[in-house]
Structures are given as C-alpha cells and as structure tokens.
Amino acid sequence: MKKLLYSTLSLTIFFILWEMGYRTFGDLVLPPVLDTFSMFFSYLNDPEVLTNMAITMKRIFFGLSLSIFLASVLGVVAGLVKPLSYMLSPIITIMLGMPSIAWIVLAMIWFGMGNPTVIFVVFVATFPIIFLGSFAGMQSVDKELLVMADSFNLSLKTKLLNIYFPHIFSFIFPAWLTAIGLSWKIVIMAELISSDDGIGSLLAMARSHIDTTSVMALLMLMVSLLIVFERVVLNSIKQRLESWRR
C-alpha cells in the first residue's frame, strides 16, 4: 500500500514537471499533459494507429521469439559442450559491442526497407543478452547435484528437465525481461529509420510535422503496452515457475 502511494507520488511529480515544462517552453517542446492523454485515448480507437501497432507488435514477436528460442537453446548447448562455448564467446562479445544503429544500417543494405530488416535488428540486438543469461545459468549449476544425478545414472534428458532447466530459469528469465524491454526500444528505432509502417514510422511522421503531442502520445502508448505486458503476462509465468522459492 505504501509502495503504491509513493509510486503515485513520483508519477504525479513527473507530470507536474512536464506541465511546467510546457508552460515555460511552449508546446513545441512539450505538449500539455491533458492534450497528450486525450490524444493517447483517441489512439486506442484509431484504426490507423491500431493497425500500425499490430505491425510493430508482430515484428517484436517474430524477432524476439526467434532470439529467445535460438539463444536459449544455444546457451544450454554451450553450457554442455565446452569447445562450443569457447568458439561462441568472441562472437557474442562482438555482437554485444555492435551498436544497434550499425545493425540497422547493415540490415537495410542486406534486406532493404520493411519487415525483414526490423525483425533482424530485434533478433541480433537481443540474441547475446539471452545467450549470456542461459549460458551463465548452465555454468552455475550446483556440481554436487550433477554428481548426485550421475550416481543414479540419470540420462541427459532427465538431468535437463530436473536439474538444468529449473536452475537456469532464474538466470534466463531476467535476461528475457531485459531483451523484451530492449526489443521495444530497438523496434521503434529500426522502424523510424527503415520502415514506412509501424509505430516507429508514425513517430517519424509526427516528427516531420513537428507534432510533439502525437510524439508523446505514441511514446505513452508503447511504454504502457510494455508495462502491461511485463506486469500481467510475464509476472504470472514467473510466479508459477518459481513457487518453490516461497
């Protein structure tokens, strides 16, 4: 209850500062808070915005699913096969060091404008984070439990299901969360530069019209979607899988 009170307080201060910004610098810099909110709510009924939102969501979904699946599996395999982990380590370091904007440039040259470019960028930007989460989980499995498993001659499948997977979950899940948050940001950037549909391109359009209210309302839309997704969907998965901790 106390927590809720304080977070409401901080949000209120945030909006007050925003409104003061508007009153001081004018609506070119910051739009009125209430106008932004009414724009935000009108977007929720605007077929054009909703279509573009669906396009953006689809891109996040494909890029992220691909990277969650491949990076998680590869992390597990690298945890089991030492030589593979040595081979992958420099590649992952390079991928982590690459600025996302550089990927966008390369992807535009390779794939042109549109879906493949945006999906590819979401994929490569989130891949190393998830891989490292999965790999770190595999590395930190309690060796004594593995000896115990060997004393019963358990098969790899039984060891994966009963020891490795439950253990790496607490490493891989935060990595998924980080990747999801990152993909939300990356997708907008990629769309802004390399696509003529999706929320990012709406943002580009609003910028070219110097329509600050639309920019802020679109950002509000993306952020609130992310919050709803994280709080509702992911938290319920986490609660279910981690019931043994409580």
């Binding site: 004393s151 019963f152 043994w244």
Partner: protein, 239 residues
C-alpha cells in the same frame, strides 16, 4: 552371486601426488563393509571410484551388482522439487507408470519416517534430519542391490541415526542389500558392519592397514560388544 571386487586401486588427481595406494577388497551380496579413516585420507575417493563417478588411475574394479545408489554426506536434494518429487527422481526413467511411481515414493517416504503432511514441502522447509530421510528414501526407492554411503549419518542426532541403522539392517536381512560405507565414527562401524577396513594415509597415498571381521548377528551386538570392539578399533585407528 553379485559382488564387487576391487583390486590394486591407486589414484592420483591430475597426475599429482597419490591419494590411494594399492587398495583391494571384495564386497559380497548381502554384506556390509565399512571403510574407517580420518577425514581427508581419500575415503570418498574410494567410494566414488567404486560407484563409477570417478575413474581410477590404475587397478581394476569388477562390479556385478545389478543396481546401485548413493547417499551423500549432504542431502543434495533438488530445491525446486517437493519431497515426493525428490524421492521419485531416479524412478522417472523406469518403466513404472506415474501412479506406481507416486505409490512407491509414498511408501518409501513413510518407511523413512516422513509424514503425509511433509510430502508437498520443498527442501527449504525441512529440517536437516528430514532432508537426510528424503535422501535415503530417494536412494532406497530404486531397490538397489548395492548401496553406497558417504558418511550420511555424520550430521544427524543419535535417535535418527539408530532409526536409519535399523531400516538399513532390515533391508540387508530381508532383501539381501549390500552396503559399502565410509565413516570416521567407531561406534557406527561396529554397529553396522560385517567387515571394517581401516585406511591410513602414508607417504605414497592412503592404504588399507588392517581388516576386522565381526561375525556376531547385528541384533545381538550389545553395548558390551560395541565398546570392546570400539576400543580395539580405536587403538588401531590412532596408532
């Protein structure tokens, strides 16, 4: 007849100094052998080599026991699984149905003195003694013909120790279970073994320096017998 024959086992980790030097013994079906030695003398290494968890540097092991299982000094339970799931871990690869596995796990849990209300608890909610009961149940539920024990009693109170000794001795008597166990506890050795191998650390790795056999039936071993033999072992152990 199932047995394990250990011949001239020597071992060193990564080619460093020898840990074990020329260890030999034979464990027959339905017998209990204990290996008695100070901590750090390589007892666990012998056990791990016998259980095929470690490959010896030289020497041979012929193991004709059909099944074996292991109880460790620490319970080594899976923290994310409850009592029954932990007990049935090794049964997951058997041909039994889920219902049969559940039934076996429950029966074994009850035999080991766990209560119905504990079945759904996770390891973090169990006391040390209860965790070790679960660990024993997990090893016994697979109905092993050979059981390896790595000082599993050392952290338990006297009452629980006696309870577990009784369960194990029953299994030996009724199901002809064989046990190879290591310990540094003299009383445990006298109460629980047919044969004792005393192992001591020497310049070229640990060796078996003497063997004792106790022929008296387990249920006839009274305090007098136990103390008398503890004294004999104690002299050998500390000489």
């Amino acid at each position: 007849m199932e047995k394990i024959v250990v011949e001239h086992i020597s071992h060193s980790f990564n080619g460093k100094k020898n840990v074990l030097d020329d260890v030999s013994f034979t464990l027959a079906k339905g017998k209990i052998i204990s290996i008695l030695g100070a901590s750090g003398c390589g007892k666990t290494t012998i056990l791990q080599i016998c259980a095929n968890l470690l490959k010896q540097t030289s020497g041979t092991i012929t193991n004709s026991f059909k099944t074996s299982s292991f109880v460790f000094q620490e319970p080594r339970l899976l923290p994310w699984q409850n009592v029954l799931e932990n007990i049935s871990l090794a049964l997951k690869e058997s041909d039994f149905t889920k219902v049969e596995i559940q039934k076996k796990a429950k029966e074994m849990a009850l035999l080991l003195g766990l209560k119905e209300e504990d079945f759904k608890k996770y390891p973090k909610d169990l006391s040390g003694g209860m965790k070790q009961r679960v660990s024993f149940a997990r090893a016994l539920v697979v109905e092993p013909s050979l059981l390896f024990l790595d000082e599993p009693f050392s952290a338990l109170d006297v009452g629980l120790k006696k309870e577990l000794y009784k369960i194990l001795l029953d299994k030996v008597k009724v199901e002809n279970l064989s046990i190879l166990f290591i310990t540094h506890d003299l009383m445990e050795t006298v109460v629980l073994s047919d044969e004792v191998l005393v192992i001591k650390s020497k310049s070229n790795g640990s060796k078996i320096t003497s063997k004792y056999k106790f022929d008296l039936d387990f249920d006839k071993r009274d305090n007098e017998f136990v103390y008398k033999n503890m004294l004999i072992l104690g002299d050998e152990f500390s000489s």
